[in-house]
Subunit: 372 residues, 2 copies
């Protein structure tokens, strides 16, 4: 009911996802707003680019400012002044990435707070409770991210834990009877048999969407492709498909080619703050001294606020002087690039010309198009 | 020709200053944009608040990005994407504040570059040349800031140096035949006889405006008041009067009471980044933990973007997490407060109710109104 496919072109789908807050045109890239802010952006700037959904993080927001604060605002939307949709990470990945500071047990994870070192515990039920108090439009199950590398038996065990947590997450979510959506997360590491088993399990639990987790954890790119390949014709046709933590422009294009509808990644925002700017001709490193005198915009084909009003020379200067405005203007650049890429992808799928678009995409960057 | 008085109420004047770029309603507060950016603000955000003029700094911009870069853009306006007026500091104050790193001589100042330690030299002619290449709407003479404390003979000597530099500055400026404006700077330290002598000298040099320099250099507040008092009825009635580096909201109100038309100061922008927020009821320290749960805006009487969309609790959280957005939103708050204060002052002068406004201003802050 919440997801409608407008057109399909190969595996690529052009859809509309409706949450309790807003409509989201897919395929979509979702900027990451860990602490209730997409770094260096006002909500107005995000809306001016066009974004319809952003990410929040249950783990981090639970630590700071804490749920008691966000409850006063009846959720994350009002707290951060964002009136479009929000998807929250369950905290599974963040707890997992604490490494030695966490101990995973059957019912959840015990961990040392990275803020004050106190011992804390989080269960699947806790995670869903937090996400519902944040009032995320899309809630993610609490999962265990399978590390790379893992043996088959380690990946199996980890996947089985995620499956039990998926059941606990869904059960708690259903009990709360709320109009939020909940997505399952497929794990299984690099093992395609486990990935398929995990997908089947998630499909059996009646989720509103299916996410593929545990990618972008240090594995070679070929594994990411193989997993997407293996799942492409097995993903449920009526639900949205979301690859978590992905990716570069190339990875977004490849993801869509394998039927992925949703993406999130810190790449555009983090890289902007490090001076790596995405353009239609590839990456431009604004710190390179060759830009010092340049009166050109970052991307002549771009009409974002930054490219419409500022030059490479000015952005180079701001970055060199460590001016806060450098972060804002460069983040606008990168986010606008990612947003427009998804709009172009959407348009191409609507017109059944997606593979032609992919050809052009690789041509402009001087790259070879990977086989499907 | 460039300055028109609309109304006068006591010493307070309501005017319009016309530069080659734009009209500026006075009394005016000018945000400081040292390196070609008002810290944490986009030009659009500055315009949305309403600012008609900002400051740039000849000394800093000459070091970074360097004049060769800014010349490529035909000046600072295009370089920084700001199509309203710009006033530039001459660098006199900045060179002076280098302390042991500079040596003042009759023709200018020799100094060690704070960037790379190389020896550099700047003369009054250099300063005007730089400012004209920046194409500032308002150029300031190169002056020596008289330190506090100084003996009468030290202040006299320093003032005489400024007078010679004022002549050199004006001579070079006139030779260039440009449609920029140039302001003289009155020095003389805390000595009222010197201040009056300096004012007379500056008035003899046919400047487009008269600035009062060398205040806010560590002297007690009472000295600032005494200098303004002493000059109030001696300032030229047809020219704009500018107090440099001032000040707090109280100092702006007091300045206008003594006939000052223009102010600049880093207070609203710097204090915002340190969590000190100006409101109609005085200063609010956003870092105070009492704001953690507050759903109130910073200032309920304020309609700026920040106060219209965000709470004290959210701003407290952003500040605590060192989020870049905290700087942006809090700077908007403070700058909007300063802008609106000047608008209220303008309105009161127009209606000949300025002293009633001053009464109310001090009442709301629970402060005693100083005698004129």
């Amino acid at each position: 009911m919440s997801f409608k496919i407008i057109n399909q072109d190969g595996y690529a789908r052009r859809g509309v996802l409706t949450t309790k807050t807003s409509e989201i045109q897919t395929p979509v890239f979702m900027p990451v707003g860990t602490y209730g802010t997409v770094k260096a952006m006002t909500p107005l700037q995000l809306k001016e680019i066009g974004f319809e959904i952003i990410l929040g993080n249950a783990f981090h927001l639970n630590l700071r400012p804490g749920l008691d604060v966000i409850e006063k605002f009846e959720g994350l939307h009002k707290f951060m002044g964002w009136d479009r949709s929000v998807l929250t990470d369950s905290g599974g990945f963040q707890v997992w990435s604490l490494g030695d500071l966490r101990k995973i047990h059957a019912n959840g994870v015990e961990f040392k707070s990275p803020l004050d070192g106190s011992m804390m515990n989080i269960t699947p039920e806790d995670s869903i409770k937090i996400q519902l108090k944040l009032d995320a439009d899309i809630v993610m199950i609490f999962d265990e991210c399978t590390p790379y590398p893992s043996t088959h038996s380690q990946a199996l065990e980890s996947m089985q834990l995620t499956h039990r947590w998926a059941e606990s997450s869904k059960k708690y979510f259903d009990k709360m009877h709320r109009n939020n959506l909940i997505f399952g997360i497929v794990q299984g590491g690099k093992y395609l048999d486990l990935r398929e088993e995990s997908l089947k399990h998630m499909m059996s639990l009646n989720f509103d969407g299916i996410a593929i987790g545990g990618l972008s954890v240090g594995e070679p790119k070929s594994i990411k492709t193989k997993v997407l390949q293996a799942l492409a014709d097995k993903l449920p046709s009526t639900l949205p498909h979301y690859v978590m933590g992905v990716g570069t422009p190339e990875e977004l294009v490849e993801g869509v080619r394998y039927g992925i509808d949703m993406f999130d990644c810190v790449i555009p925002t983090r890289n902007a703050r490090n001076g790596f700017i995405y353009t239609t001709n590839g990456i431009l490193k604004i710190r390179n001294s060759k830009h010092k005198n340049s009166t050109l915009p970052v991307d002549q084909d771009c009409d974002c606020y930054t490219c419409s009003n500022f030059s490479r020379g000015y952005l180079h200067h701001l970055d060199k002087c460590n001016e806060i405005l450098a972060n804002t203007l460069l983040t606008i650049c990168n986010l606008a690039h990612f947003y427009k890429l998804m709009k172009q992808i959407q348009g191409a799928i609507e017109q059944n010309t997606f593979e032609e678009f992919v050809d052009l995409f690789y041509d402009m960057r001087g790259l070879k198009k990977p086989k499907l």
